[in-house]
Symmetry: D2
């Protein structure tokens, strides 16, 4: 039920919120005679509209002592049962489209559920193990090679076959200069070199806003890292581990990714460079920061109604991440998928693949 | 497990903290061979010293996902069992004194536990009932009378017979001018007159700091009050109720108590005036704000060691409250008891008894 | 000497800072035997590096009671005289390049000087006239037409003939979809329609961050606007004037530009669309917001040394503005010039030209 | 014109404000036919009421670029001339009383003017000399002695002969326990012992709020002190000087005064103890912190009207200081004078005289 920072939601809220999505956008709209489980749950579990309540000054998700976990499970059963009934009816395209979005929405929250739990436990003074079998430090198996891509006009974005979010569309052409991109992700060992070369203290490597963030928060290593008796360690889902130099670095911000790339005279790839080259390399262990700002594609159309709020309203001051991570559920990954976070955020399984112009 | 504001602790923390008190100050100091239940619990449940941990940047009590409630109950059983064993040994005066403080400390937290729960539920959008039988709105049975007290030198403070906290001692003489003090507490009906006379908008009634607080927080009524369709209501432990004009007003800040007294051309009594006159009136429903700043009595001695931190370090920028409230456990009240809170705080069952100089 | 917000510097600081640029990067580096005017001025007037002083906890530019204006003029004369001497020597390409940057740097500050003065006076309760002849409300002379641009690959950026900043280079190709762009800027009359249609209260028109900004700051009109007796007025450099519906709207944020465009079902152009079409329309009255994030061009090279800090370190979380404004000095404008500010800022003479996809 | 912290006003504002006092409370009320110098100056220079302007979102005193210093001098001449005319008329007791308050009010601001200038210059990176002859570091001439005072009832407060502020009245009786008080103020040498004994790092010496203040602001010495090459120095009105161990310590907060007293097992005297013993010792170099909270005396009467706002509204969360300082104008000192500041403030010439119970 905890919410240590505003970006992290309490686990039980995810459960209620993904359930509410089906109640709000499917059952109460399309299933005749459906009666909501509880009048106030829409208010509690709605993340879309500003919470303006006549009786409550302000509510934080972390302060939701009620409904209790048991009640939320009852809510979930109730909605699941009604969804099962509804699915036995004849469904229109409008129905299946919104249900499909609801499923993908839930997958997004499955990933957030795990990363939020990691954050919550990783900030607990007892640093408890989440799952002894959950290995989140992964060795990078590739040796360094550079995949070259010639200049040209490339098609970017989703072709409209199968499901995608609105922000991946429409497919459009982008002119790209020649570049090469790494076949592997940056490792802890490489990151330790950056730390040991005083990278976190060299102002010229950083954006002004990145430098302010480093100073204000005393950042000196990726999130979850700490130094004990001259040994770097980090909190992982299976507890505290020594840093393995061969493993992929994770829980870094865009600010750090940029500074690291400056330090080694490379750069962070654009999302277009990533999407063009991705079929030639392995990905899927870390969300990979790109240099691209999260902006609408040419001819982007915001869907009508509340669903239209899903993506477009976030298209300012965020950076695009591409690929997917070990926390992403199956079938939720696409070459064209555009994830996005603010530059300082680190609680997702983020990583860095370098690029360079040629 | 929630902590909606910094003054309010999550219920399970109270449970662990009061348990830890006995482990820290009794068992681990005096019970030979005692082994702590868990190495890190002292860190988690210690409210006395700054939490400086080598591995955790910062921890909030509201984010304590671990230890879970079940573990805290185990901790409590463990400590209770060892305390029972220890109590069967021959105890010195030093032992009994610290145990007595531990018991009183726990009673304080019993009260906080209830007021914190009220705050947590009262900020929940569902406004859940805590206990259908918990009546916290109480009718004031007295008609207005004024108890006159002549000028003179009075003895103030605890005589040293029986238990008291250090801040009630030593007993000392105070010269007091003649005054009269109300036999009853201010009621909701009287407070509604203040509201309707625009009391919350008359700057000249308020301290500068009080006025800033009103403006910044849009204060227009006691805490838990809200106006729905021209009917004033409030959240109580047995749910939302209409405001009863005959009931005692509660959940007011010192700032409001002062402004109300200014408005009706009376004043808030000093803690000395309160203590002298208290045997002549009923008290015990509400903590009663006084005009007195929380300061050490002449010849106040801070006890040695960590126990010495108990009271003295708070003796600046707080106001004294006297009496006790419906949430106070039995045998935790004394005529000389000095409670203290910051001027804007309202989540305790606070109230106001007026005085005037004569 | 005032600094009402962190983005605005006191006028005398601009004077000292532009002078310091020549002392720091020209005279003390290249003019043999040059003696600095004052040992501490580099510390006072340096905007490039973090102000870390051993004797001063922190200094704000707005608190610079010393040096006084007279001393800064002496400093300026001293540096000007030495620059004149230096210019009579044989100069290398390295010399002329940095001097040219210094001149352009000073022109930038000339514009800031005027907009900062407007901000300072416009926040003064007396709303004083700056210059009775300074007309900053300008009628838009064009009738609405739409300039169509076909899809294709276009060259963007500076060709390297004549001066430009590093951020305009290198010239490179961009693929652009077909679009049309307005021949005129949005007017006050059009903005009043947006206000009257409740545009500032329609959450769906805004980015989430824009909406938060509107709510937190009670934004309901462009900066400097106020409503008095049902008449919209604004502060201008020649004092308070009624809003002229035919004049160009100014002092709007990117957030407002975006919401306005959403409201009229158009969009904010990208900086590429702007640069391609700009030769076909009049510009130069307002800095025109674009949809583009401020990012490096492909193959962007940061110059070595402190000058390299000039632009690159700001390339995150800012939006590009194109064109120039009535406050821009002569010869400081270029078709390829990239100005940049954070999305909520409004104190520059900003405006909006609409675009649409076709 | 600068205002580095909210407690410090720009010098020119003091000039306008003290002038405005006579215009507002004397001339415009009692001098028939008086025409205000400028309609908006009441708004600009009024410190009594909330600045709520229909055209200005918010104004800070430090941002008052207008009126300029010259205009304020004209304003002052104008008001002085009219006051001179008015003083030639027949004055009632009401007139002379408010004029007397105006004169004392101006003396208060004369002191603030000097301490504010010291603060402004002392925060300037150039650390400029204010006046080469202004010696504010003063050697304490007394050897340590303790003045004993027997218990008893003492008269406290102003007898009503001659001028006093409302907060010094009425005279009343206070019962005081036996105590002794130092004949001298604490010196820099004694304070250095406290620093060297790690006093700023011993949590048990401090109030909780004091400790938070120390931690948050990295307090490690009195204000204006800094350590350069192992030599303690401080900024004074005649520039930077080495710390003289024989001089009186100054620019300390109440929090520090309390911690220092705890450290040497003494205490800060109450304002009553101070007033009783003051005739037996020298005072007038430093405002002396007392343990007393700033509260109304028994039977305190707030004067009617705006003048009533003068003192009473500050009577919460502040500490009383007694005596006067080297910055206090002549004839502005009284044995019964009650100055008051918040516990962390240090920019006045504050000092500490120790007491102890006997």
């Amino acid at each position: 039920m905890v919410q240590p920072i505003v970006d992290v939601s309490p686990p039980k809220w995810h459960l209620g919120h993904t359930t509410w999505f089906f109640e709000e956008f499917v059952l109460s709209k399309f299933y005749k005679g459906y009666k909501r489980f509880h009048d106030h749950y829409a208010y509690v579990f709605n993340s879309y509209y500003e919470s303006v309540g006549k009786r409550v000054v302000r509510t934080d998700r972390g302060n939701l002592s009620r409904p209790c976990v048991e009640d939320i499970y009852k809510y979930r059963s109730y909605v699941t049962n009604h969804m099962n009934e509804f699915l036995n009816q004849t469904l229109t395209k409008e129905h299946t489209e919104i249900i499909e979005i609801g499923i993908h929405h839930e997958k997004q929250h499955q990933e957030l559920l795990l990363t939020d739990i990691k954050y919550i436990l990783g900030n607990n003074p007892l640093l408890p193990v989440y799952d002894i079998d959950a290995i989140d430090a992964l060795v990078e198996p590739q040796n360094q090679e550079w995949i070259e891509v010639p200049e040209g006009i490339y098609k970017i974005g989703h072709s409209n076959e199968g499901f995608s979010y609105d922000n991946e569309k429409p497919q459009h052409k982008v002119y790209v200069e020649p570049y090469s991109i790494s076949n592997k992700l940056v490792t802890n060992g490489e990151w330790l070199e950056f730390i040991n070369d005083n990278g976190y203290n060299q102002v010229l490597l950083w954006h002004t806003e990145g430098w302010d963030w480093v100073q204000k928060n005393n950042i000196c290593a990726p999130h979850y890292w700490f130094n004990e008796n001259n040994q770097w360690k980090h909190y992982t889902l299976n507890g505290v581990q020594n840093i393995d130099p061969k493993a992929i670095v994770t829980h870094i911000s865009y600010f750090e990714a940029f500074a690291f790339a400056q330090w080694c005279k490379k750069r962070v790839p654009t999302e277009f460079e990533w999407e063009i080259a991705a079929p030639n390399f392995n990905f899927g262990k870390r969300w990979e920061w790109t240099e691209s700002a999260y902006l609408p594609y040419p001819n982007y159309q915001k869907p009508p109604g509340a669903i239209g709020e899903y993506n477009g309203k976030f298209m300012v001051n965020q950076k695009v991440l591409r690929g997917y991570s070990i926390a992403t559920p199956d079938h939720h990954a696409r070459l064209t998928y555009r994830n996005f976070f603010h530059a300082p955020l680190r609680w997702q399984f983020t990583g860095l693949r370098l690029a360079q112009s040629i």
